[in-house]
């Protein structure tokens, strides 16, 4: 039986393998995604983001225990890749191992592979594989991030930002663009001092009524993942959020935007690849750069010259 057929039937080993294929840019990847595509588009996708050690993995572990209404749940946990060696220490699932034997739950660790947006470029494709395998809810845990890594926004239906007490004053919230795109705020580790202060800072932030805000005031849920506090409320808030997105039509808009972004990224990446190959094969940059050394043509003029050569070559080869 073909890999795609096994994935659609929910074979866990095939699913593990299929995610490896999309992660590694395997030659069979396009064919696989092609076969899976008709089975995609049903899963809810939640993104959980926040700084390192804010409790994302433990919160997901707790949320999974509240997912009994769902037949199949999956987690994609992204951890950073070493920029030096390309290796990765993938330690998120350690916090979720109590679910390792639950047949409904599939957890997969993913290395970020040098992408700085908090997820890896394979995450979007891994979501498609899980979606086709019938997972109703897919939770993405980003790399621990800070202020502006918002790539997960385009992949997730609902985005949760996990904050901790004592992680800075209201100025930190005003600077961080990630707060703009979150649908739900979680104040985790609420047993720590200054949880009320962070809650007040968030209230202040939300009272500023940004004209661009999509949904106005967004929910704030106060939790302690290790003490299992507030998890019920978080689970209900997230389901509610998803329902609202369906009801007011913005889920459709978000998913349309997601697909548009994915397509334009793919086209841009392909173009970049073609262009890089052209420049490497012809050595045109090296050849033309001489005419800019020590005065002469501007680099912009040279750019246009190189591009016009590229297009000539491109159309010739089509």
């Amino acid at each position: 039986m073909k890999l795609a057929e096994k994935v659609i039937l929910g074979d866990v080993r095939a699913l593990g393998r299929a995610i490896s294929l999309v992660e590694n840019e395997h030659p069979d990847k396009h064919a696989l995604l092609e076969q899976l595509a008709p089975h995609c588009g049903k899963a809810m996708v939640w993104g959980i983001t926040g700084s390192p050690g804010s409790g994302k993995s433990t919160l997901i572990d707790r949320l999974l225990t509240h997912g009994e209404s769902h037949r199949k749940l999956a987690v994609l946990a992204v951890d950073p890749t070493s920029p030096q060696t390309g290796g990765a220490f993938l330690g998120d699932r350690l916090r979720m191992q109590s679910h390792a034997q639950d047949q409904r739950i599939f957890i997969r660790s993913i290395a970020s592979r040098g992408k700085l947006g908090g997820i890896s470029s394979a995450t979007g494709d891994a979501i498609k594989v899980l979606d086709a395998a019938g997972y109703e809810l897919i939770i993405i845990e980003t790399v621990g991030i800070g202020q502006s890594e918002i790539d997960v926004r385009s992949l997730a239906d609902v985005l949760v930002l996990v904050l901790n007490p004592g992680s800075g004053d209201s100025i930190q919230l005003l600077k961080a663009w990630i707060v703009e795109v979150a649908d739900v705020f979680v104040i985790n580790k609420c047993d720590k001092a200054e949880a009320n202060r962070l809650s007040a800072d968030l209230d202040f932030f939300q009272s500023l009524k940004m004209p661009t805000a999509e949904n106005g005031r967004r929910p704030v849920v106060i939790t302690s993942a290790t003490l299992d506090k507030g998890i019920d409320e978080l689970w209900r808030t997230l389901l509610n959020c998803q329902d609202n997105l369906v009801a007011n039509g913005s889920l459709r808009d978000r998913r349309a935007r997601r697909i548009q972004e994915e397509i334009s990224d793919l086209v841009a990446a392909k173009m970049q690849e073609e262009l890089t190959r052209f420049m490497n094969d012809t050595g045109i940059v090296e050849k033309l750069s001489a005419s800019s050394l020590g005065g002469g043509k501007s680099i912009y003029a040279l750019r246009d010259e190189i591009l016009s050569e590229f297009w000539k070559d491109f159309y010739k080869s089509q």
């Binding site: 080993r13 699913l15 995610i19 840019e25 060696t85 290796g87 993938l90 699932r93 916090r95 034997q101």
Partner: protein
């Protein structure tokens, strides 16, 4: 493009001493592999499901409690039952030399006891990477 080697480092049983497992996991990550660490006190069933979900090529078991003769073979046996017997297995920890031949017979292909230079484990992986299924 080649497939990135994925390695699971797992601690079965009740033993909570994971300095060695963390050291090996980190060192293998620094050597350029993608390493998944399960944490301590994992059941054989949980480790096997993890290995399959994570689609690993190798897995290393670490145990210091003396239960290796029970737990290591149990895990390789479960993996074979699940059709994942092709994952290459190694082990480490406090393992008496006289236990090693029996463990090897059960499919734990190499045993690295305390004091083993890290390079030996890396050499083992490199020497066996040609056996990793091309997918």
């Amino acid at each position: 493009m080649g497939m990135k080697i994925r390695i699971l480092i797992a601690k079965p049983g009740l033993d909570g001493h994971d300095r060695g497992a963390k050291y090996v996991a980190r060192a293998l990550a620094e050597a350029g592999y993608a390493v998944i660490y399960t944490g301590i006190r994992q059941s054989p069933e949980a480790i096997v499901r993890t290995a399959i979900q994570e689609d690993v090529d190798f897995w290393g078991l670490s145990l210091l409690s003396g239960a290796h003769n029970e737990l290591f073979p149990r895990i390789t046996q479960l993996l074979r039952q699940q059709g994942a017997g092709d994952i290459i297995c190694f082990g480490g920890g406090i393992i008496p030399q006289q236990d090693v031949p029996a463990l090897k017979e059960q499919g734990i292909e190499a045993i690295f006891t305390p004091g083993t230079p890290m390079q030996e484990i890396i050499d083992f992986i490199e020497a066996n990477r040609h056996r990793v299924r091309a997918a």
